[in-house]
């Protein structure tokens, strides 16, 4: 079979938003002649059992992608805790404990009178 011997469907990647608290999530793809057709078909290909509020259809060729082999693109080797919750929580909690002790002492002085 020569390439192009048959007319070719376009591929549309389908993203579904299940409710307004959720983002659109990729669910799969359909062969279709147009984006409008893709959405019509996608509703039944992917949502027979799931509720949704929105469907996006994106032509496969419009997707730009990273290369899986390029693992260094995603490298995080050095300590990044400075920008995480974990990086601060324990140290701050320790400091708050000191203030809480002082606070408790004050209360005792007042209560004891």
């Amino acid at each position: 079979m020569a390439l192009g011997a048959h007319p070719r469907f376009r591929v549309y990647e389908i993203f579904v938003q299940k409710d307004h608290q959720s983002p659109h999530v990729w669910v799969g793809s359909v062969d279709a002649g147009s984006a409008e057709d893709a959405i019509l078909l996608a509703r039944e290909s992917f949502l027979r059992r799931d509720p949704a509020v929105s469907i996006w259809a994106v032509e496969q060729s419009a997707i730009h992608r990273t290369d899986y082999a390029d693992r260094d693109f995603f490298a995080r080797e050095t300590d990044k805790r400075y920008r995480t919750l974990a990086g601060y929580r324990a140290a701050n909690a320790e400091r708050w404990r000191k203030y809480r002790r002082e606070l408790l002492d004050l209360e005792r002085d007042f209560v004891r009178d």
């Binding site: 079979m1 007319p7 070719r8 469907f9 279709a32 002649g33 057709d37 290369d67 082999a69």
Partner: protein, 312 residues
């Protein structure tokens, strides 16, 4: 720039370490071609698999069963769609798309699963198929969830979830027949008698020496052998079949505690050869239906792809 052999060795190493392969990864031709063939066969099996039960959709005996069977068969076509998409993305560099992958079914280049070449002459057959054939399929498919080819493994999650409904649907039909009139019970027993050999044949022969199977194991596309899967199926379903009071048409069938496996009368493995040549009981009939509808629908597909449609 590493040469092909080095890249191939590195790829094999990745896969054997349990790493996953994506559609856009570099892969040796041997992997791509073997995966496309396997995916194509699975997809076409789902497509052809819709036909035996579809025979009973217009004759389903209650409104509830009519709806349930329509949904079940629709799912099979849906599975074909999901898996074809995976196959198409992988086959694109080979110059093959949807039309080529489906058309190869009619030339005989691409095969479909042996179980779908078998007749379904009564309503009870629709029940047995939904319960036990889908049950067998789930055993196979669950074992493929760890496949090295990630797009396939992902799609199988959805497929397996829907198969869960199929088995419940099939069980429901069989339970109703088993608990029904004597004629209904007999219909169910007759159907089981008809399908038992096909259920054993489903998993393929115990020793598979085929080169294509070897490739699938080498690249961790699949990891369980035919016999391991068949044993799993028997362990799961034989007790349930017996619990319904049905007899299985194999006097040898028993679980050998010492060997830790089911002992059964081997089915006639040579039947698989005829089926592989599309000379099974209903192979030509069902291929004929598919081929006819495919040709009948060509003008429709061309209309969908016309420039006016694509302008929207």
């Amino acid at each position: 720039m590493p040469n092909h052999d080095d890249r191939h060795a590195a790829f094999l190493d990745r896969v054997q370490r349990g790493e996953k392969i994506e559609a856009t990864d570099w892969m040796p031709d041997e992997y791509r071609i073997a995966m496309v063939k396997f995916l194509q066969m699975h997809a076409l099996s789902e497509l052809m698999g819709a036909l035996p039960e579809k025979e009973w959709v217009p004759r389903a005996p209650t409104l509830a069963r009519k709806l349930s069977l329509m949904a079940k068969v629709q799912d099979e076509v849906g599975h074909a769609q999901l898996i074809l998409r995976v196959a198409e993305d992988l086959a694109a560099p080979l110059g093959k798309g949807r039309e080529e992958l489906v058309a190869e079914l009619f030339t005989g280049e691409a095969k479909f699963h042996n179980v779908f070449h078998m007749p379904a002459p009564t309503w009870a057959d629709a029940g047995i198929i939904g319960w036990l054939v889908d049950g067998a399929a789930v055993v196979s498919q669950a074992a493929l969830l760890t496949s090295s080819y990630a797009p396939y493994a992902r799609v199988l999650q959805r497929v397996c979830a829907e198969e869960g409904f199929h088995i419940q649907h099939g069980e429901s039909i069989c339970l109703a027949l088993a608990e029904g009139t004597p004629a209904q019970r007999q219909m169910l027993q007759d159907a089981l008698n008809r399908w038992w050999e096909a259920l054993l044949l489903f998993f393929g022969p115990p020793e598979s020496n085929s080169p294509s199977a070897a490739v699938l194991f080498k690249y961790r596309f699949r990891t369980k052998t035919n016999e391991e899967l068949r044993q799993k199926f028997l362990t799961k379903y034989v007790p349930r079949i017996w619990a319904l009071g049905l007899t299985i048409p194999d006097p040898q069938l028993r679980f050998d505690e010492e060997a830790g496996r089911w002992v059964y009368t081997p089915p006639d493995w040579s039947k698989l050869k005829a089926i592989a040549r599309n000379q099974g009981p209903l192979s030509q009939y069902r291929l004929g239906l598919r081929r006819l509808s495919y040709e009948q629908g060509r003008w429709v597909r061309e209309a969908l792809l016309a420039p006016a449609a694509q302008a929207v």
